[in-house]
């Protein structure tokens, strides 16, 4: 579905990552794979370090930490949030919505609209579009888009295909109407026929968790995981990203009256360095215009990767000037989307740690 908006702006951004860092060099010891191949994998995919939560920490804990910091520093007031869009694949509970839990903990206004959005890799794009739609309602001035996930809790440490790339994070984007910000062009597409390419098989109503779903077994390559763990068909996801994302983005750029050369920066979801380099090559975009270093520094935190890429690479620039940017997310769903808009002159753009609590 195509979306058009006018005069919408991101005015501030905060990234919260767990203090706890895991190194690929340590992860490697758990894999049933030759060390030289693991080293090559790390080189190609960009695995080095990733941030993961301590046991028991929920995605909303990271989000709450970030929002309280913004309140404490006077960058945001709890009573000026007109809507909270909470995008996650790792809710605290099935019931109630996690946005309602945060609403209570943070003391938000009773007329602050709360909604949970179940989206992963494309979650920043979908969350922003949700916020833009809310901002078209009279009286809505400020929307907080929170992307938060702790997928590390669902990945087997013995799964070389997924564990080294996974990271946890929460990001907060403040979205407002701003006169003169210009037009926003967006497109989001879905292919539900391939919805099972990225999944956590057990834990929902279709296959509830049980002692059986916690039993690990090894795949052909020696990766051990259980039905409780995340599993992805890496090759299928790669083919999807290469085949479906570039034409969608070419349409979007055309719609926006530009081409890829007319865009200053491409903030894309960060599955791994390899896939981003291949996408940049396919779009004929120089690597410098499409950051790919979130996985090597923090890990892939699903919907939180796009704000992470912005804060990690361009925090200063984004507070100083406005750029023509293209966002794109692709993955879980399968969902793929993009936004072309002006972005910058943020009031703040920072990254903070969620401190370790354990001994």
């Amino acid at each position: 579905m195509k979306f058009h908006f006018k005069d919408k702006a991101i005015t501030g951004m905060m990234v919260v990552v767990p203090e706890q860092e895991r190194l690929f060099a340590d992860d490697m010891r758990l894999f049933n794979a030759p060390e030289n191949r693991s080293r090559k994998l790390a080189l190609v995919m960009g695995y080095r370090a990733h941030r993961v939560v301590e046991a028991g920490v929920c995605a909303s804990d990271l989000a709450e930490h970030g929002l309280r910091k913004l309140f404490d520093e006077g960058k945001l007031k709890s009573d000026e949030i007109d809507a909270l869009v909470y995008v996650t694949l790792s809710p605290d509970h099935f019931m109630p919505p996690t946005s309602c839990i945060l609403h209570g903990k943070l003391g938000l206004r009773k007329d602050c609209f709360c909604i949970d959005v179940t989206q992963g890799c494309c979650g920043f794009v979908v969350g922003l579009l949700q916020a833009f739609q809310l901002l078209d309602q009279e009286g809505v001035e400020k929307v907080a888009v929170v992307n938060a996930d702790v997928i590390s809790r669902k990945v087997s440490p013995k799964d070389r295909n997924s564990y080294p790339l996974i990271g946890d994070a929460a990001t907060i984007a403040i979205v407002e109407n701003r006169e003169g910000a210009g037009k926003v062009f967006a497109d989001v597409r879905f292919d539900g026929t391939r919805s099972m390419a990225l999944k956590i098989p057990a834990g929902g109503f279709r296959q509830p968790c049980s002692p059986d779903t916690a039993v690990m077994s090894a795949d052909a390559e020696g990766n051990e995981r259980a039905p409780d763990n995340l599993v992805m068909d890496g090759t299928a996801v790669f083919n999807f990203a290469m085949a479906d994302v570039p034409p969608m983005l070419a349409d979007l750029a055309h719609d926006a009256g530009t081409d890829f050369a007319g865009i200053d920066k491409f903030y894309f979801h960060q599955p791994n360095k390899f896939m981003l380099q291949k996408l940049a090559e396919k779009l004929d975009v120089p690597y410098e215009k499409m950051p790919n270093n979130v996985v090597e520094n923090y890990g892939n935190s699903s919907g939180a990767t796009i704000p992470s890429a912005m804060a990690l690479n361009d925090a200063d620039v984004l507070c100083r000037e406005t750029k023509r940017v293209c966002f794109s997310g692709f993955g879980v769903g399968l969902t793929y989307g993009g936004i072309v808009m002006n972005c910058g002159n943020f009031d703040f753009c920072e990254t903070i740690n969620y401190p370790n609590k354990g001994e």
């Binding site: 790669f238 083919n239 291949k278």
Partner: protein
């Protein structure tokens, strides 16, 4: 990309000095998911077609792989 270049690229992916037409792909010690993904990416970028995991599963030797690339290439 011609056959010689393809074989060089494949050898590089498999961490070998060279690869032989008749060799079974799965006999190379470096044949793993990274190798498969690298071959899939090669098909996409240099040969212009989508190679799937099931496609790869159906191929046994280096010669089979090259024949599949030749048959499906669009560039």
């Amino acid at each position: 990309m011609d056959k010689t270049q393809f074989l060089d690229e494949l050898a590089n992916i498999l961490d070998e000095a060279s690869v032989e037409d008749g060799a079974n792909l799965r006999d190379y010690p470096s044949w793993d998911s990274l190798a498969v993904l690298s071959i899939v990416a090669l098909a996409d970028s240099k040969f212009g077609f989508t190679l799937t995991f099931p496609d790869v599963k159906g191929l046994t030797t280096v010669a089979d792989l090259w024949a599949f690339f030749e048959k499906n290439r669009t560039k």
